[in-house]
């Protein structure tokens, strides 16, 4: 067979790792760089896309790429420790090898959004697929009207990408709103659930695109509240996740209704999504 085999991953080296959160299901971020220079230069992902990452002898897992292509010739993955593969991934340290294939799926149509105000609404590890959009907008600041980020988690310890928020609030036209479920000492931001915070901020639907990602229950209420705020279905985007094995629309399992999340998704506009019966199952 040939080098065309889409199931064969590229080797990449872990350059840097850090923990975003703690606990049993902690999230660890990996910054990886492909070993092969050609791969490095030819790799081209868009915000919202995923990659199959894994370890030979253990397996693979579909993870969203949590960096924007504008950030440099590297990839970032923020992985929650859950099953066999993610546990093994968590054992990787700088210098170790990770296998990567992709990028998979569609992406946020960021280039169709030029001139718009972007609103991201994220919860927990759901911020990972949103982060590339944030970074992309930051890198192409002149092309967008502005960006508002709402991000919440159960506790301050469960927030990912913590170091990046301060700097963001300082930039013009960008704003960052953080919330946690329960009051904590020293927490200088909002307390409450993400959907409520959305209502409280009362963003205008005009010329705005909303993208949201987080736990299913959060998404449900965010969608509900977005409707209350007057957003049209076409203005709302989210990403889905399902169990995947191949990443290229063959293995069958990731379908939500007639859509393969790995190919037709993971990004869906609510206009499409609302007709997919299994989307929120």
């Amino acid at each position: 067979m040939t080098a065309e085999n889409p199931y064969i991953p590229y080797t990449a080296t872990v350059e840097e790792t850090w923990y975003e959160t703690g606990g049993d299901r902690c999230i660890k971020t990996f910054k990886v760089v492909f070993d092969d220079e050609d791969v490095r230069t030819n790799w081209n992902h868009r915000p919202g896309q995923c990659a199959m990452i894994g370890i030979l002898g253990v397996g693979e897992s579909m993870i969203s790429i949590s960096c924007s292509p504008t950030e440099g010739e590297f990839l970032r993955f923020s992985v929650m420790k859950m099953g066999k593969v993610t546990q093994a991934l968590h054992q990787l340290e700088p210098g170790d090898k990770m296998m990567v294939r992709g990028p998979y799926g569609n992406s946020f149509p960021v280039d169709d959004w030029h001139g718009k105000q972007i609103l991201t609404v994220g919860g927990g590890v759901g911020q990972a697929p949103l982060r590339p959009v944030v970074e992309y907008v930051k890198a192409n600041r002149d092309k967008y009207a502005g960006l508002t980020m709402i991000y919440g988690a159960r506790t301050s310890g469960d927030l990912c990408f913590k170091g990046e928020f301060e700097e963001m609030s300082k930039s013009d036209g960008l704003s960052c709103h953080l919330t946690i479920d329960v009051e904590e000492e020293g927490w200088g931001h909002n307390v409450g659930f993400v959907p409520q915070m959305l209502l409280d901020l009362n963003p205008s639907p005009e010329d705005t695109i909303v993208i949201t990602c987080g736990p299913p229950i959060m998404i449900r209420f965010v969608l509900e509240n977005l409707k209350k705020l007057g957003f049209a279905d076409e203005q709302i985007y989210t990403t889905l996740e399902n169990r995947m094995k191949c990443g290229i629309g063959k293995c069958g399992r990731c379908n939500a209704g007639g859509m393969y999340v790995c190919k037709d998704g993971p990004v869906f506009s609510y206009a499409v999504l609302k007709d997919i019966p299994e989307a929120f199952a």
Binding site: G57, R243, G252, G258, P277, E278
Partner: protein
């Protein structure tokens, strides 16, 4: 396309010419038939009925090594697929199923393993003169002598086989055995037509799928899904024996430092199939899984590839341990529309 005739007296000779070429044919093992390699001096007899396990495993093995590697090393060695093979006696429905599955495996990104095997196999079909009890291929655009997907079709005319070449691969095969063949005359062609129409008449079951692909979304919450799936055991019989089911799992296996990544059939009827690591399952019960199976075949696949992913071979009906009958389900679906 040409039509040739092979006198059955020359059958052993015909086989003899093919056995060196990795010939596979149906073989009775116990009570069930399945495709097996034909040994050197073996002369397979083609009998009525279809194999219990569809020949999809020829192009999509139940377990297939994708690549091997050494633990701690990053060199991945793919298996070399280069041996051509001949599948003799495949039924038209199963060949048609391959055409249907081809669409998926070549959709957007090519699946190298499947497509390579497809390329290497020559499908020599055998028209059905005695369709099975639960055959309903005619409802789905197939038929006892449908040629879709075949390279060569054989029709049993009693004392001889009519050989119709369909593709260049088929022609190539025929040319290798040409000295055993004679040109078929019009009478034989007529005999074939008669046999086929008689055979069609023997097919008792049917599905009226008109309106089903479009109608299924509207039946999403219909109580019928609960009732048709109530007795389902959640086993993989229906899907594993289905010639169009193509789902697979990918696993890494290690033995010492030796390891491989391989894929193996999986079934949407298994609970584990869609189970997230978090414990959440988007299709938590057999109701959702049965609904997905029917929708996948009669709705999603149609949406994507414009063809129903069912060829009416009847295997899932024959072997369901609890008599869940797809024809019956589709009848109820139709009724509910």
């Amino acid at each position: 396309m040409s039509a040739m005739l092979l006198n059955k007296e020359k059958w052993p000779e015909f086989i003899g010419k093919l056995t060196g070429k990795n010939l596979w044919a149906p073989k009775l093992e116990g009570e069930a038939m399945r495709f097996a390699p034909v040994a050197e001096d073996e002369v397979p007899e083609l009998t009525d009925g279809n194999t219990r396990i569809p020949p999809k495993n020829i192009v999509f093995p139940q377990t297939e090594t994708m690549y091997r590697f050494q633990l701690g090393d990053f060199e991945m060695k793919e298996p070399e697929l280069k041996e051509e093979m001949i599948l003799l006696g495949i039924r038209p429905c199963d060949a048609r199923a391959m055409v249907i599955v081809d669409k998926l495996f070549s959709w957007d990104v090519d699946d190298p393993y499947y497509l390579k095997r497809r390329e290497l196999v020559t499908l020599v079909g055998l028209a059905c003169s005695e369709p099975g009890l639960n055959c309903f291929c005619t409802s789905l655009g197939g038929g006892p002598a449908s040629t879709e997907g075949l390279d060569l079709l054989m029709v049993d005319l009693g004392d001889s086989y009519l050989l119709e070449t369909i593709t260049p691969k088929g022609e190539a095969l025929v040319s290798e055995v040409s000295e055993l063949l004679i040109e078929a005359d019009t009478e034989k062609i007529k005999m074939k037509k008669k046999m086929v129409s008689e055979s069609e008449g023997k097919i008792k079951r049917s599905v009226d799928h008109k309106g089903i692909p479009e109608g299924l979304p509207g039946l999403w919450e219909d109580p019928l899904w609960k009732s048709v799936s109530a007795s389902c055991l959640g086993c993989g019989t229906c899907t594993y024996l289905c010639p169009t089911c193509h789902c697979f799992d990918i696993q890494d296996e290690t033995e010492g430092f030796e390891a491989r990544r391989c894929r193996m059939w999986d079934s949407c009827m298994f609970e584990e199939y869609t189970l997230h690591t978090s414990g959440h399952n988007p299709r938590p019960t057999r109701r959702e899984r049965t609904r997905n199976r029917i929708n996948h075949k009669y709705n999603y696949y149609v949406d994507k590839f414009d063809v129903i992913a069912c060829v009416g071979c009847g295997r899932c009906i024959n072997l369901c341990p609890v008599n869940i009958d797809i024809v019956e389900i589709l009848r109820q679906v139709k009724e509910a529309l």
